[in-house]
Amino acid sequence: MNEILSVGLILLAALLAGHAAQLLRIPEVTGYLVVGVAIGPSALDLISHQNLQTLGFLSEVALGLILFSIGSIFEASRFLHLGRGVARITLWEAGSAFGLSLVALLALGEPFWVALLLAVIAMETAPATTLMVLHEYDAEGPMTERLMAMVALNNMLVLLVFGAVTAALNLGGGSDESLLLLLYRAGYGLVWSTLGSLALGVLLGLVVDAWAARARESGEAMILAMGVVLVAVGASRTLGLSPLFATLALGATVANTSRHGGALLGALGRADPPLYAAFFVLAGAELQVTQLGELGLAGAVYVVARAVGKVGGARLGMRGQDLPETVRSNLGLCLISSSSLAVGLTIQIRGSFPQYAPEITGVVLAAVLIFEVVGPLLTRRALLQAGEARTTPEPLKEMSEGAPLA
């Protein structure tokens, strides 16, 4: 099937899935993922592997936009208000997921580096899926605020820790290069991927700010916003930086420096739906249902340890903070989703440390399948229980300047 037909099919399938999800009272994300599995290579094979490869850029575009909007959460005023508490909860939930997974896998007899890499991946919470569910249910409230900031911080933390672990692995691996060069390379990699990505995001954000004043119409604003996000993703790849850090930094810079940030985000909002739908359907198509059969004991232990770590760690992190009980008991459930970053890290492991790749790939891909299906359902449940979600998604409204909102 040619790619244009594939995209059309994806969008129509997403539309059907969205309606079905509403009827079944499940998150649209779950519907998109399930329909993606159905039309992907695992089942009906209407979207082939070749199509997935060619359409991979769509997923990258959508992810870039998602991260950009997450980055806009880091508006200084809001973040200063939330920052310390959120950082603490993030450290606790990510740390608990890491610690529990590591201990459980080591107890099972897994090799140290395999267990360590899996534990790092266990820290991750899917930004796209989580944000999509929040968006679908128009979630608002203290839990929602913290959740979005936590997802961003979580992903940054995961990348930092992953960078440190891989740097240590590179140092430990057999090589005839000098120790100084190895240390420099490891340190450079870590610093460059964080500082360099931040610098790229900040620079592009300031460029956007300078240009945004001239974008009079919403169409121009949309072009500007989308263009700069894609430049951020593309430039990150070219320079060996982290697209996640760069687009987060871009969003944060726009939020904190530009008067027109709101206009840009609003303009992007109109372009989001088809890209998001395509992103999640493609994500579902890439899920390999057959991997479930290869989960094995290590995989099952990984799934359980990660879930317990996330939920329990979040709860522990909220101690001492002035938060209602509904938030305390439900926030952890929203952290279960795991997807693109986990898969991305696995791909990096395959490239850099192939001796550990087979086992890690098997566990992660199967676990992602589980978390991607269960995660949105749990997030929805948590939002409803915390009272921060509508039971039915609000239909899209026309947002025009000066229009009063009902």
């Binding site: 290579p41 094979d45 082939s48 592997h49 070749q50 490869q53 909007s69 806009s72 508006e75 005023s77 809001r78 128009d138 979630a139 608002e140 409230g141 605020e145 691996g173 090589s175 060069l181 420099y184 450079y188 500082l195 360099g196 931040l198 610098a199 900040v202 620079l203 300031l206 460029v207 700010d209 790849r237 904190n256 420096t257 008067r259 027109h260 940030g261 709101g262 985000l265 609003g266 992007l268 909002g269 989001d272 890439e286 057959t290 002035d322 791909i347 990096q348 490239g351 850099s352 440390f353 192939p354 790939t361 009272g387 921060e388 947002m399 300047e401 000066g402 229009a403 009063p404 909102l405």
Partner: protein, 488 residues
């Protein structure tokens, strides 16, 4: 008041039982451009929170310029201070993506080829990265002797570094029967090389390289391939990378039958599974469809070395199976020697074409195959006794076999002596046809008498047909029983 970010919203009536003040604008995505009018959402019970100071007002003008300058400086410094590329040469992100798909592409043969090609290359790189070296586990096997004129072109083919000791497993066809002095690794490094074992049954050869660091090599597959499994033949031929998908048609433990999806693989081509583990090496002529598991082959070859049978023995003779008229003519059971390599152990021991080998050591041999097997099993360098029959009489000779690399059963024969007549000039066409002898074959001897020209000697004519004729045809020599002579 223009607010950036999420707070520029207009409020709306309370709707939630918990008392949260619901804003009109939605979380993070849809923002009206209308400046807010001062309503804010509470973050705890219903008390409105004061509007925080707007930080964006502080980051403006000169500060923005400084921020931009600093960011640009960081980027430039990062690019300039980048360390030299690591030798592991990891693939960039976008190249790694096909791997996850290639593994499950078995249902799409048309796509598999491209995926497998990338996987094949990736598989080789995996093995490089696994051992932390830039050299890929392939060896171009060649000789440092120029091939004699008229010989086939210089050997081409390669082997796979299949053990931590730097041993290369390849097929003898890759070396064209020439001695080996050097081997070239795929990064151009030349190392001293020596053949240390040769298994004539399969043609597999073990080459030991000197100076290859321990641990270099391909990880071996932990399990056999299934019938119908797709594997990758990957290596280099004539300076070009070659990667091709290959299907394992069947596997019976010590040999796989393969069918190449495209092209013919050269001898000694390593086969990798899709996990990047080395499975087998391919054989050469005459069958390009066989592949031998690396692990088992290494075991067998090492066993041969341990038992002192690293090389098959040879005494430099060619044996001809004989039946029908030849058997009747010879009137004895044995292995007919149809050619003796000049200067070889058999020639030195006095064995001649036409001799019938009836015993090797203690073994009675009644046919060519039996005798050949017995001779190749002799220890190289250890004298052995051969019993043979010549002109009706039995005699015993001592011969010392030598180890041989060549698996080709027929050495190239010397050119026929000048004056050796064509068969069609000596015998009737019908007689030649009946004997299965090409008319253009050169007649070397008749009934043991060398022929230097025509006509047949009177003694032979008096003896009468059928005659035992020794012939030379297409670099081979053989015996035949021919009937009537040609008319003068």
């Amino acid at each position: 008041m223009a607010l950036a970010g999420l707070d520029g919203c207009r409020g709306r009536p309370l709707q939630r039982p918990q008392g949260w003040c619901v804003k009109a604008c939605q979380a993070a995505r849809r923002l009206p451009t209308v400046p807010g009018e001062g309503t804010v959402a509470g973050v705890s019970d219903a008390a409105p929170r004061p509007e925080p100071p707007t930080l964006p007002k502080l980051i403006q003008g000169a500060l923005k310029l400084r921020l931009a300058g600093g960011a640009a400086l960081v980027l430039v410094a990062g690019i300039l201070l980048a360390p030299p590329q690591a030798r592991k040469n990891p693939l960039p992100q976008e190249k790694a993506a096909p791997i996850l798909q290639a593994e499950v592409q078995r249902r799409e043969p048309a796509r598999v080829f491209r995926g497998v090609q990338e996987t094949g290359r990736k598989a080789l790189r995996y093995t490089v990265a696994f051992h932390g070296r830039a050299q890929e586990p392939r060896v171009t096997v060649f000789s440092d002797f120029a091939p004699p004129l008229g010989q086939p072109e210089a050997p081409h083919g390669f082997g796979v570094l299949a053990s931590g000791e730097g041993d290369v497993l390849t097929h003898v066809s890759a070396m064209g029967g020439l001695p080996l002095g050097e081997a070239e690794l795929s990064d151009g490094t030349r190392v001293r090389a020596q053949v240390i074992a040769h298994e004539p049954e399969t043609g597999l050869v073990l080459v030991r390289l000197e100076g290859v660091p321990a641990g270099t090599g391909a990880p071996l597959a932990r399990s056999e391939p299934d019938s119908g499994e797709l594997v990758v033949a990957a290596g280099r031929s004539h300076g070009r990378d070659m990667v091709a998908p290959v299907f394992v048609a069947s596997s019976d433990g010590d040999r796989y039958t393969i069918s190449a999806a495209s092209g013919v693989v050269v001898p000694g081509t390593p086969l990798f599974n899709l996990e990047g583990e080395a499975l087998a090496v391919t054989s050469g002529a005459p069958s390009f469809s066989d592949a031998y598991p690396i692990g088992l082959s290494l075991l067998r070859l090492r066993e041969r070395i341990a038992q002192g049978r690293a090389f098959p023995s040879s005494i430099g003779i060619v044996l001809q199976p004989h039946a029908g008229p030849l058997a009747s003519k010879l009137g004895a059971v044995g292995a007919l020697v149809c050619d003796v390599r000049g200067g070889g152990p058999a020639a030195r021991a006095g064995i001649r074409p036409g001799d019938l080998i009836v015993g090797v050591g203690e073994l009675e041999t009644s046919g060519a195959e039996e005798a050949a097997q017995a001779i190749t099993s002799l220890g190289a360098g250890e004298p052995a006794r051969l019993r043979l029959r010549r002109a009706g009489a039995e005699r015993e000779l001592e011969v010392t076999p030598e180890g041989t690399l060549s698996a080709a059963p027929l050495p190239v024969a010397d050119a026929p002596p000048a004056g050796a007549p064509r068969a069609r000039d000596v015998f009737e066409a019908a007689a030649l046809a009946a004997a299965g002898v090409p008319a253009e074959a050169r007649v070397l001897s008749v009934e043991g008498t060398p022929l230097r020209g025509l006509p047949l000697p009177r003694a032979l004519l008096r003896k009468g047909p059928p005659w035992l004729v020794w012939l030379h045809w297409e670099a081979r020599r053989f015996f035949a029983v021919v009937g009537a002579p040609a008319a003068p």
